[in-house]
């Protein structure tokens, strides 16, 4: 889920750059452990922070195992379930996955898992490319409040929240700010 920007002064820091680094490195270890052989693996990020997080996890996997896993991009805009309900539309990015998907394991990567609707749309998007052997889910933050029967396979940090709170993930590459996760108390 994309979070709207707000004043960081009113927000509480949840993770700093080092905590994010450790969490993603641990996720990389878990992915390696659960997915041999790594040659069949694709880390597919949801734009824009999911793409950057996927790139970082791939870099950790390379560091640990000396193997380059494939990465991809899944834009979910065309597969969302709220067509005609938004007064303005953001830019759609081109999806990019290595083909064919058959026999591959796709790991969907995003920054925050909330209702699960984005992940559902991502699975729908993946299926239009083919039929992967399996699909898994990795997120930096799981904030709860699922509206669909979806659960993550790899979690950087579980963060129980109230629906009126906001989670903001900031990454150097996508936001031009120091890596951090903030919990906003006000909306």
């Amino acid at each position: 889920m994309k979070q709207t920007k707000q004043n960081p002064q009113a927000a509480v820091p949840i993770m700093d750059a080092e905590a994010i680094r450790r969490a993603l490195r641990r996720i990389a270890h878990e992915i390696i452990e659960r997915n041999p052989p790594l040659e069949k693996l694709v880390l597919a990020g949801i734009p824009s922070r999911g793409v950057e997080i996927a790139r970082r996890i791939a870099a950790f996997i390379h560091e640990i195992e000396k193997i380059d896993v494939e990465t991809g991009v899944i834009d979910v805009a065309m597969h969302r379930d709220d067509v005609g309900k938004r007064p303005e539309l953001p830019l759609v990015h081109a999806s990019k996955l290595p083909l064919p998907l058959e026999e591959r394991t796709i790991i969907i990567v995003d920054d925050v898992l909330y209702t699960g609707r984005t992940v559902r749309a991502a699975m729908d998007a993946i299926n239009s490319f083919g039929r992967p052997a399996r699909i898994q889910l990795a997120v930096l933050i799981d904030r709860g409040h699922r509206e669909l029967p979806i659960r993550p396979d790899y979690v950087g940090k579980n963060l129980p929240t109230a629906t009126r709170e906001q989670i903001q993930v900031r990454l150097q590459e996508t936001d031009n700010e120091a890596d951090a996760v903030w919990l906003g108390r006000e909306i």
Binding site: D75, A77, M78, H79, R80, V83, G84, K85, R86, P87, E88, L89, P90, L91, V92, H93, A94, S95, K96, D124, A125, N127, S128, F129, G130
Partner: protein, 310 residues
Amino acid sequence: MTTRWTRKDLLGLRELSADEINFVLETADAFKQVGTREIKKVPALRGKTLVNFFVEPSTRTRISFELAAFRLSADVINISATTSSLTKGETLKDTARNLEALHADILVLRHSSAGAPQFLANRLKASVINAGDGAHEHPTQALLDLYTIRERRGKIAGLHVVIIGDILFSRVARSNIFGLLKLGARVTLVGPSTLVPREFEKLGVEVSHKIDDVLPKADVVNLLRIQHERQRREYFPGLGEYVRLFGLTKERAKLLKPDCLIMHPGPINRGVEIDSDVADGLQSVILDQVTNGLAVRMAVLYLCGGISTQ
């Protein structure tokens, strides 16, 4: 660049900002990719109804919109002038209101009168997409031309685009002029003075009546169809003379830079605006235009048809 799209209608390029035009082109990149998937269909407009309302005949534009709508999972109804009650004297507004009463969400309109799409857009809740109105605008054709240039040359700013032919009657030319100038291209119009009056210089383009002077300096030539159906005899003496003075013959094509793109919105009059060999040659991107037209129209339908009109 704009990061959000907020329009329910696409009426012309004159009203769009450079940012908005680029937004459509970038969105089209994403939709072009859909054509390479195993399942070339996305649920973006599932449950929406699109009406192709073509009061003027057109095959390629209508089919392109129809296929674009199918790929977005919309339902499509085609209405042409001869099958509509316009021939029974119903007004355009009444026909459109009837379509809306059937809960049509998107109306793609081709009409012989300039301003017809604007007229309906102001009165209907449905999205209205201009598929060509009189000699006014044909925005999706210009967008696909821009997309094709950008795809082949990597940019539009700074390129010299030469539009040749029947500019006076051409909505394609007008939409292209607006779009190209907004994105920073240099535009030269070429044709007989009756069809390319100096008046056009007011838009910020150059006008020339000597094709052989202009061709060597072109990065893109866009050849417009001679519209027999709109022509009256006084505009030029005959097709033979037009070919001799302005046709892109095999000989004349040798004047072009090797990387100059040759475009044509179709349908081609082979041997009139363009020689067969040139139309089928390596510099021709005429079929790319057709393929890209689908991606651009998917983007336009997704953007205009996908926003809330409440």
